[in-house]
């Protein structure tokens, strides 16, 4: 006998409701995914980016099967509304991620949108895209004081070891 209020309480439900219904959700995600495959880096709301991420990675998994595979071609032609991206998917994105097993996308949060709604935004990109990196690579600066002192200490120890080996 069901004792809980199924309609009013949603504890533990993980499926998100986006847009006007399930069909609208899929259409919206399809548009965002087409944009992502075309531009390789897009900016949307955090929730939409999180939803698209799953579909983006699954699309790459299908693309890895090759364009001769019937199921893969059907999936690609369904999910990509602009048909000039289907060859790009199979010839550019699939070979790019040959050696990766998972994690083809990267999602990073950005400051809230400037509009009245102050929506939480995120940037979603395929790894290996040609644009400037979102997380700049930090190089160690040799000219800082601490690094110079450590360098001097290492050279002194090397000199002492050489003298000790000679004597």
């Amino acid at each position: 006998m069901r004792l809980t209020l199924q309609m009013l309480i949603s504890h533990g439900r993980v499926a998100r409701r986006i847009g006007l219904g399930p069909e609208s959700r899929i259409n919206m995600l399809r548009n965002i995914l087409t944009g992502l495959v075309r531009h390789e880096r897009i900016e949307t709301t955090r929730v939409r980016a999180d939803e698209v991420r799953f579909y983006a990675e699954k699309l790459i998994d299908y693309a890895k099967k090759g364009d001769t595979d019937e199921k893969a071609m059907k999936m690609a032609s369904f999910w990509l509304t602009e048909k000039d991206l289907v060859p790009k998917l199979f010839k550019v994105l699939a070979p790019r991620f040959e050696n990766h097993s998972t994690g083809y996308t990267r999602m990073a949060r950005i400051p809230n949108r400037e509009n009245l709604d102050r929506a939480q935004m995120a940037v979603l990109e395929y790894k290996g895209n040609p644009f400037p990196p979102l997380y700049p690579v930090k190089k160690e600066n040799e000219l800082t004081l601490i690094n110079q002192l450590l360098k001097g200490y290492r050279e002194e120890r090397a000199r002492a070891r050489v003298l000790g080996a000679e004597a």
């Binding site: 602009e82 790009k88 949060r109 950005i110 400051p111 644009f131 979102l134 700049p136």
Partner: protein, 181 residues
């Protein structure tokens, strides 16, 4: 608000009317004064009573507001400033202090720990915008994405052996320091 009270009053009257009518039909009422001596179907007393009930209700309808004011909620005493202060300054109504703000190591602007720096991201966006304009010029129309990789070269750079079959996008400026490959 006046419409609401008049509506509630009219609802109450209609409910009472329905109740009395049900009682009449069932024949269980015996306290109605203008009831006829005839012990028959109670249709005639109904026709007589309706104008009487309407007359009773009409004088009540216009002071409906005055009648309903008597049962509306109202504060009994003035809330003191101490009580007001404790309500207004309760923990849940104060703005929470954020402890996850730190300066960005690259530019020094403030950022939240789990969110990218706004200034650095705007910088990257501007450069990608210019790169995309260049790509748009190269493609020369919509829906013409070539099925090849892209590589971006700045002034004085030549494509290496890795960038063999790639489409080259040239940017006529010096390579920025934050865009190392």
């Amino acid at each position: 608000m006046m419409n609401l009270s008049a509506l509630v009053h009219s609802l109450r009257c209609s409910l009472l009317r329905i109740e009395s009518r049900l009682l009449q039909i069932s024949g269980l009422d015996s306290q109605l004064a203008p009831a006829l001596a005839v012990n028959g179907p109670s249709l005639l007393p109904q026709i007589e009573q309706d104008p009487q009930q309407d007359e009773e209700h009409d004088p009540e309808q216009t002071p409906g507001l005055l009648d309903s004011i008597l049962w509306m909620a109202a504060p009994k005493k003035r809330r003191t400033i101490e009580v007001n202060r404790t309500r207004r300054r309760a923990e849940r109504k104060l703005i929470k202090v954020k402890t996850n703000i730190e300066p960005c190591p690259e530019c020094g602007h403030l950022k939240q720990k789990h969110i990218l720096c706004g200034f650095c991201y705007a910088k990257i966006c501007k450069e990608t915008g210019l790169i995309r304009q260049q790509i748009k010029q190269m493609e020369g129309g919509p829906l013409r994405a070539p099925p090849v990789e892209t590589v971006i070269l700045y002034e004085g750079e030549t494509p290496s052996e890795q960038d063999g079959g790639k489409r080259i996008v040239e940017r006529p400026r010096k390579r920025p320091a934050w865009f190392r490959n």
